[in-house]
């Protein structure tokens, strides 16, 4: 499979990338690691006429300690997120989940910003950033915006990112010693999650679901139950509430709701364990 023909430009800087986007508008797409975009282009489901390669903008690959929060550059690869000692220490959920994305080859290329910009409800990291109550920093012609993760995912493969904007960084609060868990249920190695759960404990518990709707979704009913002191079983029973999970070869909506309840139960059990320093990825 070969993508439809396009013109290619390698951005020399963020400003260069933004100028190219402004010039070519809707016809242009940013290329980071390419592991969401190129498969779509090979299937001709995406046919941009201009690709703006931002993959070499080293200034967008970093993990920065801002005190109470960490900022991760938009072009930080999953491999680097997974192995970042700062992330492992302060936001272990994100580091662990990055290590569950795809496979090692995919993690060598795919980027955090690229995964969020793609906005796939079946992707692991959008739900993680939701659970963490992170925010996405974007830059474009109108300057810089900071978009809370709750406002970022607006539809199937659709985000609040405008066509002339680029994700510069992702901010997530440090979770300290709070328990956390990432549950990814699939039937074959390397597959997308049939259902996944990202959960973090602490004063304001966060729980978000992978592949349970047209966007990554917050498990609001579960969080609400936890806030009023519900047990793990009581809270997990709400995991399917208000969800519209997809139906496909792997699972019906009802089975996905069942999975969500089971996986949220497992995740919350892990979160509640006293010795959670090593966390709870499957």
């Amino acid at each position: 499979m070969i993508p439809a023909a396009f013109s290619y430009a390698r951005a020399e800087s963020i400003d260069d990338a933004l100028a190219l986007l402004a010039e070519h508008g809707d016809d242009a797409k940013l290329l980071a690691g390419g592991h969401s975009l190129l498969p779509l282009m090979k299937l001709r489901l995406a046919t941009p006429s201009v690709l703006v390669d931002v993959g070499r903008l080293q200034e967008l690959s970093f993990v920065r300690d801002d005190g109470d929060t960490l900022a991760i550059g938009g072009l930080t690869r999953h491999h680097d997120v997974e192995h970042s000692s700062v992330l492992r220490q302060h936001v272990p959920l994100l580091a662990a989940a990055a290590g569950e994305v795809g496979d090692p080859q995919v993690r060598h290329r795919g980027t955090l910003g690229g995964s969020l910009a793609h906005g796939d409800p079946a992707s692991d990291l959008p739900a993680v950033v939701l659970a963490l109550r992170g925010s996405i920093v974007v830059r474009g012609g109108r300057g810089e915006r900071v978009i809370p993760a709750d406002d970022f995912f607006v539809g199937f493969l659709e985000t609040a990112l405008a066509p002339d904007e680029i994700i510069t960084e992702v901010r997530v609060p440090k979770t300290g010693g709070a328990g956390w868990a990432f549950e990814k249920f699939n039937r074959r190695a390397q597959d997308w999650a049939i259902v996944g759960v990202a959960a973090v404990g602490g004063d304001q518990p966060g729980v978000a679901l992978v592949n349970m709707g047209s966007t990554p979704v917050r498990a609001s009913a579960v969080e609400a139950a936890l806030r009023v002191g519900a047990s793990v079983a009581e809270a997990a029973a709400h995991a399917g509430d208000d969800t519209e999970p997809p139906s496909d070869l792997n699972a019906s909506p009802d089975y996905r709701r069942h999975l969500a309840r089971v996986l949220v139960g497992r995740a919350l059990t892990t979160v509640a364990e006293p010795a959670t320093a090593s966390g709870g990825s499957r």
């Binding site: 023909a5 390698r10 290329l31 592991h35 080859q105 290329r109 190695a189």
Partner: protein
């Protein structure tokens, strides 16, 4: 502002040889390697980032070359299965696959070996040791084999990884001791070269 072009000049060092070609911007790295550079050891399996048959090393790290543009590898270093052996002397990972019969039809093998080399290098540089069976099974998640049931592949990768670790250790001590005799061993020197170039080329 950079100007988008439908064609691009791509300069890639492939298996130590500098190559430079004018290609369509949409050229995938796997097609570039097979059809432009002329190295057909890298196979195309699923063509959709799943099976790993097309795995090569880009700047020392495993990637699926069906999902990388040649343009993205411009200025970089690529190692394919053809670039592993030193003349007639197989790379330790290749030798381990032969020793442990880590293949049947062989179609997935080039990708398996390249993924295993990358995994072993990372175990040495980032995790500081030899791969466990669990790490091998998880690390080969992106490489599918429809023949073997993986048992011998896992055995081969563990043996190859241990051999690479031993070589790196011996080459390292040879370097420290300044022993011309040990550094003169082709196999060990080759492994040391690879370890050095891979460690220093993170993108």
């Amino acid at each position: 502002m950079s100007v988008p072009t439908p064609e691009i000049s791509v300069a890639i060092t492939v298996n130590g040889v500098m190559t430079e070609h004018e290609v369509e911007a949409r050229t995938l790295l796997v097609h570039h390697l097979r059809e432009v550079v002329g190295l057909t050891g890298t196979n195309i399996g699923c063509d959709s980032t799943s099976c790993g048959a097309c795995t090569v090393l880009l700047d020392g790290e495993s990637v699926k070359s069906c999902t990388v543009l040649a343009a993205q590898a411009d200025g970089g270093t690529v190692t394919t299965i053809e670039g592993l052996a030193d003349g007639d002397a197989l790379h330790p990972m290749q030798a381990a696959f032969r020793e442990h019969h880590g293949l049947q039809c062989g179609y997935c093998t080039p990708g398996m070996v390249m993924a295993a080399v990358s995994l072993s290098q990372e175990a040495l540089t980032e995790e500081g040791g030899v791969l466990t069976e669990h790490a091998v099974r998880k690390g080969l998640e992106g490489n599918l084999c429809r023949c073997t049931g993986y048992q011998n592949i896992v055995a081969a990768v563990m043996a190859g990884s241990a051999e690479m670790a031993g070589s790196a250790e011996m080459a390292g001590s040879a370097e420290m001791a300044g022993s011309a005799e040990m550094a003169g061993s082709a196999e060990m020197a080759g492994s040391a070269d690879m370890a050095a170039s891979d460690a220093g080329s993170g993108r």
